[in-house]
Structure formats: C-alpha cells, structure tokens
Amino acid sequence: MAHEATVNTHRTKWWSGGKSPFNIEYGKVMMWYFLMSDAFTFGAFLISYGTSRFSQNFWPDPNVVFNALPGAGHANLPLVFVSIMTFILIISSVTMVLAVHAGHNRNKEEVQKWLIWTIVGGLAFLGCQALEWHHLLTSEHATLVNGQIELITQTTRHNPWGQLVHGPELTAALQNSSVHTLATLAEEHHLSAATHAELMQTPKDQLVQLIANSPDVHIREKGPAAFGGFFYGITGFHGFHVFSGVIINIVMLLMTRANVFENKGHYLMIEKAGLYWHFVDLVWVFVFLCFYLI
C-alpha cells in the first residue's frame, strides 16, 4: 500500500479532475472548437464555389469585376479597394492582440484604447463592404441578353461578367437594341459631346457605328449565373461574422468600462473575444484568395 501511494504522487493524474489536461480554461477550449466548426462551414461554402467554378468553361476574371474605387469614377483600378479592406482587417487584428496583451497586464486604460481601435477597424471594414456591394448592385453594364444590349447589374440571378462580344455579333446586337440604350451607352462613355436628348435624335446607324468602333466600350455576355450568389453569399456570411465580432467587442468594451473584469481579477474574456476576431481575419484571408486573387 505504501509503495503504491509513493508511485501515485510522482505521476501527474491529468485526466482525473482538478487539472486541465490541455492547460486552458473551459471557455477558451470551447471557443476553439466553435471556431473549428465555423472553419468547416466557411470551408464548405468556399469549396462549393470551387466546384461550381471548376464545372464551367468560363469564369469571370476578378480584375474585370472588382476594378472600382469609391470616388475614382470609371477609373480601372483592379484589386486596389480590396487591398485597402484587407489591410484594415490585418491592422484591426493587431490592435486586438494589443488589447488582449493589455488585459494580461490588467491595464484597464490600454484595454479600452485598443478595443476602441479594433471596433473602429471593424466598422471601417463593414463600411467598405457596404460601398462595394452597393457599387456591384447598382452600377449597370451593357450586356448581350437574347440578341440585344441591356443594361444589367450584378445580382444573385445574373451578372454582366461574361465573355467579350466582338465584330458582327456586336453590331447585330446593337442594331437590335433600343435607341434609348444606345444613347445612354454613348453618353456614359463620353463618345460624343451631345446630350442624351440630342443623341436620342441621332440616326440609329450612326450610334451603332459610334459604339462598335469605340475601344472604351466593352460589351460582354451574361456571366455564369452562380457567380453573384456565391459572391454575395460568402462575403455576406463573412460580413455577418465581422458585424457580430464588432458587437462582441463593443460588449467587451462596455464590460471593461463597468469594471467587470477588474472585479473578477482577470481579463480572460477579452482573450476569447480576441480569438473570434482573429478568426474573422483568418477567414477573410481565404475569401480574399478565392474571390479576388485567383
């Protein structure tokens, strides 16, 4: 009996209670497993996007779709706006690390300061996403639909990001289109100094020639129908995560202000909110890869 007792005191009984075998508190373990399951959800979405993309002969080039910058008008600036969004999210991840570290030091002022910067970063990202969605949903592009030109936007049903239309096919489509559409196109691309009303009076053949011969007007077919749904679905699901992360951070800020963590004696709750926030950044890295880079 005495011998057995000595043996037991030398062995750490990790799984018999009283100690954490993983050496982390319960809440943090569960946050990790939640994030792992969330990674599978995002992974499933992105992989189904990949499957649809691989099943098509043609897929839109992201540099054609995402080439606008707010305030830059019709300038062709691929990747610029989304780079800004990416850096906003990376920086807000850094400020969150600083908030968690300040929590370890039990420095209430610093925790509040860095949480506020993280919230600002999150809101800035959401603002950028709202601008991007608004642009995609409202800016009309001349598209070949059923043999004529129509002005369509990117929705979950259709999008104007198909293949370029050239030569006789383009001329025929322009001939089939309404004078109003042609006048709008000519005016938008500054092909003539005339006003829209004046262009409406111009002979149709003249308008067709004006547009068909312009190197600035790119008229495409409709793109793969799945493109818009995947884009809005996945970036929307990510944006929803950013939104809930901002709410969680605001709650953390209010709790810090109310001395909840100070009275508890530790700021470990901030660490769990931090895990969630970093995960949002992690997912964006992959959304950025799948939709904008490749």
Binding site: S20, W32, M36, H266, Y292
Partner: protein
C-alpha cells in the same frame, strides 16, 4: 502540504481557473517584438500576393500560358497558407498551447485536403460530362481562344434553338 493553493491570496488568472496550472504570458519587450515581426510578415506577404495578382492581370492583356498562370496562382495559395499559419500560431496563440490541444484542432482540419481534392475533381468531371453530352453548353460557354478553329459560319446567338 505547506505550499497548498490558497485562492484568497492569488491575484493571477489561476484564481478563477485553478485547473490551469500555468499561463503563458510574455513580458512586454518580447511581446512587442513578436507582434511587430508578425505584422510585418503578414503585410509583406499580402503585398507579394497583390504583386502577383497584378502580374496575372498584366499577363491577361496578352495570351498567357495556362500553366504559367496556374503556377502563379499556386504560389499565391501557398502565400495565403503562410499568412493563415502566422495568424493562427501567433495572433491566436495556438503555437503556444500544449501539443495535445493543438492536435485536436489541426488534425480534424486535415479533412480539408480530401475535401478540396474530391470536390474540385467533381466539378472538373461535371464540366467534362457537360462538354461531351451537351454541345450547346460547350459552344456557348467555351472561350474563343480555347476552340480548335474559329467558327466562321457560326450562327448569331439569337438564331440558335
């Protein structure tokens, strides 16, 4: 039991979580160095990705080789995985957790290797089937540069049944 744990005298996080036997917490100088280094790595890798993205955009103005573009995209994917590693390992501190815990997170994620291979292959196979049995799909969606010969007498889109 002279050094028995006394929660009333403990101001560390262990007061709330006595089952956690030690906390990894670095001093301010080490921490700062590590965070700055990681921030720089993430920024530089992102800029490298963007540079490759712009390079692909530039290539697409001509007729780039399919495999060269695929190679560049592969490099971008690897750079993204590097970024993911730094975010998870340093910012989320998974690299500081004990090995057993790390494995409970990382091992299930290995399923993604199979998911990606299987489902992309599925998409590819669906495309091949459609191109074989649905000629209308092939004719209307195949990019012109991929067609063997430019169809000179192809009817206009509206005329096709």
């Amino acid at each position: 039991m002279s050094n028995h744990y006394d929660p009333t005298k403990d101001i560390s996080p262990s007061a709330a979580y006595p089952e956690v036997s030690f906390h990894h917490h670095s001093d301010d100088a080490t921490f700062k160095k590590r965070v700055w280094r990681t921030t720089w790595i993430l920024s530089v890798v992102t800029i490298a990705e963007l540079a490759l993205g712009f390079f692909i955009y530039y290539l697409h103005k001509g007729e780039p080789s399919y495999f060269f573009v695929l190679l560049l995209k592969g490099i971008i994917c690897i750079l993204t995985l590097a970024k993911a590693y730094y975010i998870v390992s340093v910012f989320m501190h998974l690299g500081d957790e004990i090995r057993n815990f790390m494995m409970t997170i990382v091992v299930p994620l290995l399923l993604f290797i199979w998911f990606i291979i299987a489902f992309l292959a599925d998409g590819q196979s669906f495309k091949t089937l459609k191109n074989t049995y649905d000629k209308h799909f092939e004719e209307t969606t195949m990019p012109a540069s991929h067609k063997a010969a430019p169809a000179e007498t192809a009817p206009a889109k509206g005329e096709r049944q």
